[in-house]
């Protein structure tokens, strides 16, 4: 029984790596499609990769639930399995965002180019790094790397605001480019959401490794509560 559990858990981990690499690939190709006006890459995300992500999403959930139901795992394994379920859901939604970017890329390609992309590729670079690091942190159980990912989220929000301001100014100066500028604003929102999912994954990794919840600044709050309690003693 115990041996069987180990085998199933290893299978879950293996399939999770496939899922992670598919999601990462979807994000990467959608951005290449956008940056290089490459229709085939955008289409590949929509027609080929996202359906694979969806199938694997269901398969992984099913495997995780089977493990929970049949094997009644304890402590660290339980945290691994529940973290896998959460990360699985974030990866699937990352795939959805990649599809949105690919669709925007196709829409942008159909119109004349407004101006060379500058901020979006920079933002994309940070976001792709966050995704990569969050997934590396998961694979290597590296909670320090996971914490670095969480901290980078503000940087992405900063770029999102900058892209927004610049493109609004651009639209006001030249209303003929409203459609293209809007597409780019929406791409920046998709990137922001991908960064949010990477952040969620990183937070789940910290929880998985340390059993410590760092979401919503829970740690700082707990610390503050403890200090308050201690000062009363």
């Amino acid at each position: 029984m115990h041996r069987h559990f180990e085998v199933q858990l290893d299978e879950l981990k293996d399939r999770m790596l496939c899922m992670a690499s598919l999601a990462e690939k979807a994000v990467h190709l959608s951005l290449e499609g956008l940056n290089n006006r490459d229709e085939s890459k955008a289409t590949q995300v929509i027609a080929d990769i996202e359906p694979q992500i969806n199938d694997l999403h269901l398969e992984l959930d099913d495997r995780a639930l089977q493990l929970l139901a049949l094997q009644q795992p304890m402590a660290i394994d339980l945290r691994l399995i529940t973290a896998t379920m959460k990360i699985n859901s974030d990866l699937e939604r990352m795939g959805d965002q990649a599809v949105n970017i690919a669709e925007r890329a196709l829409s942008i390609m159909a119109l004349p180019q407004v101006k060379p992309l500058i901020d979006i590729p920079r933002m994309a670079e940070i976001v792709e790094k966050m995704v990569k690091d969050a997934l590396d942190a998961f694979v290597r159980r590296d909670n320090e790397l996971a914490r670095i990912v969480v901290l980078r989220d503000d940087e992405v929000d900063h770029y999102r605001d900058q892209v927004f301001r610049e493109l609004i100014a651009h639209m006001i100066r030249d209303p003929r480019c409203i459609q293209q500028a809007l597409d780019l604003i929406l791409v920046s929102r998709n990137l922001e959401r991908i960064a949010d999912h990477a952040t969620n994954i990183a937070e789940d990794v910290v929880y998985m490794v340390l059993g410590r919840d760092i979401r919503h600044h829970a740690e700082e709050k707990a610390l503050a509560r403890n200090e308050k309690t201690n000062s009363h003693n």
Copy 2:
């Protein structure tokens, strides 16, 4: 032990209802703030309700994990607990979307009104109904109602596209209203995401009640596979 498990499970359900009602309230108030240019309601979402949602989000996850770890529940209880974890995460993200709408509402209030809102309130009405029905379906274990929610998602996407086209046309006609129109486009995206979360919740309810996965059209695909297999026999 068994008695204790029932008590803890009931507590989990109770707290889940609080979470659901807070998320519903956040969405409702943010939309009232937007529709009535009511600053106090928008501020209430940001300063008062979302922090409560965040606290409850962590509490519920913790309770669910405790139940999984200590009580080793089987079948239907296991599905209830894992569904609760997933729905909890969708409700928390719904709260984030409500905050975004509240922030857009405040930005819109600070500028002169462009035109009376028509499509957004209609879209909002459908989305609010989806949220309500998804949560009712969860409480009443009503998989039929849950399926109705899933079907309504396309209607929301239709409104999102309509709002997008209309507001682009509006921006092109009158570039002075670009900022306000953009805010409204982003609100329509937030509404779309809230509808997505309601759909996720409804899908989890069907799984919880029937043990059947209807995400990504898994049911139709399984049916198609069976028919194919049968036709080969």
